[in-house]
């Protein structure tokens, strides 16, 4: 059957393509010439070229003045991977990803499950939960700096109320990263929640009803019906969480600036502190290259493996 259709269809298709192809090619060329260059030029100028430049600078010792001349090969990279602050930054980025996946996303799904239905007051709650995401990162960082403040902040007030010594969480090497993680979860769960609400609203009610008729419990309904139907949203949300975690910068700067003792450094805050403020453009570019490679590998790997069908 298939063979027959194929053999019948083949000449027709071949005929059509022969007839069809040349006018399109002829018609497309002027369009290409006219419309491609502006976009291509902009993209090359502001995306491809800087990336190439960063890769080039990363092989030099250079302070940003004049043109780089002091070629050092891969020394910037070896310095980088021997630097305790950078390895700490890598560990922290990993930790942020783990917390995003294990804490933030489940929290977002849980809240989305409750807020996907049309109950009175649901819009208000959605708004409240989404609000942190709308806030500028720097503003959120500053707000939380005040909350954590051991002298005048909310933490000081709470500690004072219970009559215990105030913890200075942001000044504590062991606690600071957890304080930052808490803010990250607070800041971004609303975004993921909104994704899931949209995903849940697309779930067909009749499937859930069918499951109910079959006698599925609440958990079973969630595990075997809702979650599989949410899987494309889940894959997207995980993707955003990973890439966002890798690029985290503006929330950390006002909170701790990467301190104390580099305990809250991320790759990008490391790039800024060691590359930009120390005017070591070469080393900074090397961080950029490493970050780029990690991001690209993860993004393409993830898309290829998990998002093939989306």
């Amino acid at each position: 059957m298939t063979e027959m259709t194929a053999s019948v269809a083949a000449p027709a298709v071949a005929l059509r393509t022969v007839k069809y192809k040349s006018p399109t090619a002829r018609g497309r060329l002027p369009v290409l010439i006219l419309f491609l260059p502006p976009a291509l030029l902009l993209f090359t100028l502001f995306v491809i070229l800087p990336m190439g430049e960063a890769a080039w600078y990363s092989l030099y010792r250079w302070n940003g003045y004049g043109t780089p001349t002091d070629f050092v090969g891969i020394r910037n990279f070896s310095v980088l991977f021997n630097n305790a602050a950078f390895t700490q930054a890598l560990v922290n980025n990993g930790l942020i990803i783990v917390v995003s996946l294990l804490l933030q996303i489940p929290l977002a799904i849980w809240l989305a499950m409750m807020l996907a239905h049309k109950i009175t007051g649901v819009v208000t709650f959605r708004l409240i939960f989404f609000l942190p995401y709308v806030l500028a990162d720097v503003a959120a960082g500053l707000i939380w700096r005040f909350v954590y403040d051991g002298d005048y902040g909310l933490f000081a007030a709470i500690a004072g109320f219970f009559g215990v010594a105030t913890p200075y969480v942001l000044a504590d090497r062991d606690l600071a990263i957890y304080a930052v993680l808490a803010v990250i979860v607070w800041k971004y769960f609303g975004f993921h929640m909104m994704l899931y609400i949209a995903g849940l609203q697309a779930v067909d009610r009749s499937v859930l009803e069918a499951a109910e008729i079959d006698g599925a419990t609440g958990w079973q309904k969630f595990r075997y019906v809702t979650l599989p139907l949410l899987s494309s949203t889940l894959r997207l949300s995980v993707f955003f969480a990973i890439i966002g975690s890798l690029q985290l910068f503006d929330l950390v700067m006002p909170l701790t600036g990467g301190g104390p003792s580099n305990s809250t450094q991320t790759m990008v805050t490391f790039l800024y502190t060691y590359g930009v403020t120390r005017m070591q453009v070469g080393l900074g570019s090397a961080v950029g290259v490493v970050l780029f490679v990690i991001c690209v590998t993860l993004a393409f790997g993830y898309k290829r493996i998990f998002m093939r069908h989306d």
């Binding site: 302070n63 940003g64 003045y65 004049g66 310095v79 403040d149 051991g150 002298d151 005048y152 010594a165 105030t166 200075y168 942001l170 000044a171 504590d172 090497r173 600071a176 701790t256 600036g257 301190g259 104390p260 003792s261 502190t273 930009v276 403020t277 120390r278 005017m279 070591q280």
Partner: protein, 434 residues
């Protein structure tokens, strides 16, 4: 005749219209190109009253030189530092910009982005050069070439809360040596008073302790050798000893709670609120503690005392050796003669006296200190005038990369995370990477 006129009028009108249109379109440019030289002055000043003083000076200069217009351009401090390398290499470079001297200025001078002012300074028997304090001019001169016009000087010293000292029974005059200082810290702690306000979040406020200890333990000879990477460099025994003394101070836990996260304004606030007795700060500490105090007023002026960083027994450093800022106006390659003439005017004793009177600066110009009205600022100026060695901030002098490592190391040693020896090694390593 009439006929001729009739014909000519449209053309004249057209011409008039065109002229108006062009002059409208190019308004500022056209006039500037014809009559005015624009002097671009890039700064990081944020205090409105200080800016007003500058604007008045610029206006007065414009009144005397109608063909020169001075344009003030502001950039936020951190943004300024990050943008400068690109800016200096572009056509948008200013004529002159704010500089902290030291290694950064030297780096800029080596790139050829700056103008060598030494011949202009030395002209007419060196009248221009002689109008500044020698230490200020020296600090902005590398290998005999001056790249910036001296503007202001500053010095870091201890400030203390007189009431709290009295409560603990301490006399500031008795603090002559580092051991006296450590004793003071203990006495204050025993009296239930937080001894020192420290800003570990920004790191550099604590690097002053290490800097001064290095200066007192090693003297100029040791530091200069370390800077030039001669001998043992930063592994000099005197420098390691300085680190050990710093660790000793840290062990006493002299700072307010959470000092490792405190920014500089917060630190000033802790001192201004009377929550800590001592602060190692700049010459303008009195004004800044008031600004950052909880009530906006802070400590009363007569409640604040000042004493120099004490000497270390057996160290060659003198109590009169000073650590502090030295600021100038770095002149770019493209700067016009008018810009240089304006700088001469801006940093002349008359103008610097005005700025001193406004409490803005300790002048770098000779003989302008008499403008200083504030007694604590005056004390700082007197200390500078009698300085036996004025050292620029270490994090400026050693250049951006080693300087930041010095800041890191100071905090790590103070908080007991790093030994004095490891710290010195880390700085030496950073030096080798330069």
């Amino acid at each position: 005749m009439t006929h001729h006129q009739e014909k000519a009028r449209p053309r004249a009108e057209l011409f008039a219209c065109l002229t108006i249109a062009t002059s409208l379109a190019f308004g500022a440019f056209a006039t500037a190109a014809r009559a005015e030289t624009v002097v671009k002055w890039m700064h990081v000043e944020t205090v409105p009253s200080n800016l007003k003083v500058w604007e008045e000076i610029a206006a007065a200069y414009h009144a005397a030189h109608p063909d020169v217009r001075v344009e003030l351009q502001f950039l936020e401090n951190e943004a300024f530092k990050a943008k400068l390398p690109t800016l200096l290499q572009s056509d948008a470079a200013p004529d002159f910009f704010y500089s902290w001297g030291g290694g950064v200025l030297r780096q800029q001078s080596q790139t050829g982005a700056l103008q060598d002012l030494s011949s202009a300074m030395k002209a007419d028997g060196g009248t221009w050069a002689k109008s500044y304090k020698p230490a200020a001019l020296d600090g902005l001169t590398f290998d005999g070439k001056t790249y910036a016009v001296p503007y202001r000087m500053g010095t870091v010293a201890f400030f203390y809360n007189k009431q709290l000292f009295q409560k603990a029974g301490i006399k500031a005059e008795d603090i002559k040596t580092w051991n006296d200082f450590l004793k003071t810290v203990k006495t204050l702690k025993d009296a239930g008073i937080t001894p020192i306000a420290g800003g570990g979040g920004e790191k550099w406020p604590l690097h002053f302790y290490w800097s001064y200890l290095v200066m007192r333990n090693g003297g100029q000879a040791v530091f200069d050798k370390a800077k030039k990477n001669e001998g043992d460099g930063f592994l000099d025994p005197a420098i390691i000893k300085a680190g050990e003394q710093l660790a000793e101070l840290g062990k006493l836990q002299p700072f307010q709670g959470g000092y490792l996260g405190a920014t500089w304004p917060q630190t000033l606030g802790v001192f201004g609120d009377g929550k800590a007795a001592i602060l190692l700060g700049f010459e303008n500490t009195e004004a800044n503690q008031a600004k950052n105090a909880g009530d906006g007023k802070g400590l009363a002026a007569d409640n604040i005392g000042r004493f120099p960083f004490p000497v270390v027994e057996g160290g060659p450093g003198k109590v009169t050796d000073t650590l502090g800022g030295l600021n100038g106006w770095a002149v770019t390659k493209k700067a016009s003669p008018a810009a240089i003439d304006f700088l001469k005017y801006l940093t002349s004793p008359e103008q610097e006296r005005k700025m001193a009177a406004a409490g803005m600066i300790i002048p770098a110009a000779l003989g302008a200190e008499d403008g200083l009205k504030n007694p604590l600022m005056r004390q700082a100026a007197d200390q500078l005038a009698g300085s036996t060695w004025h050292q620029n901030f270490f994090d400026q002098d050693l250049g951006p990369s080693v300087g930041r490592v010095v800041n890191d190391v100071s905090v790590e040693i103070l908080s007991g995370q790093m030994s004095a020896k490891d710290g010195a090694q880390m700085i030496q390593d950073a030096r080798a990477l330069e």
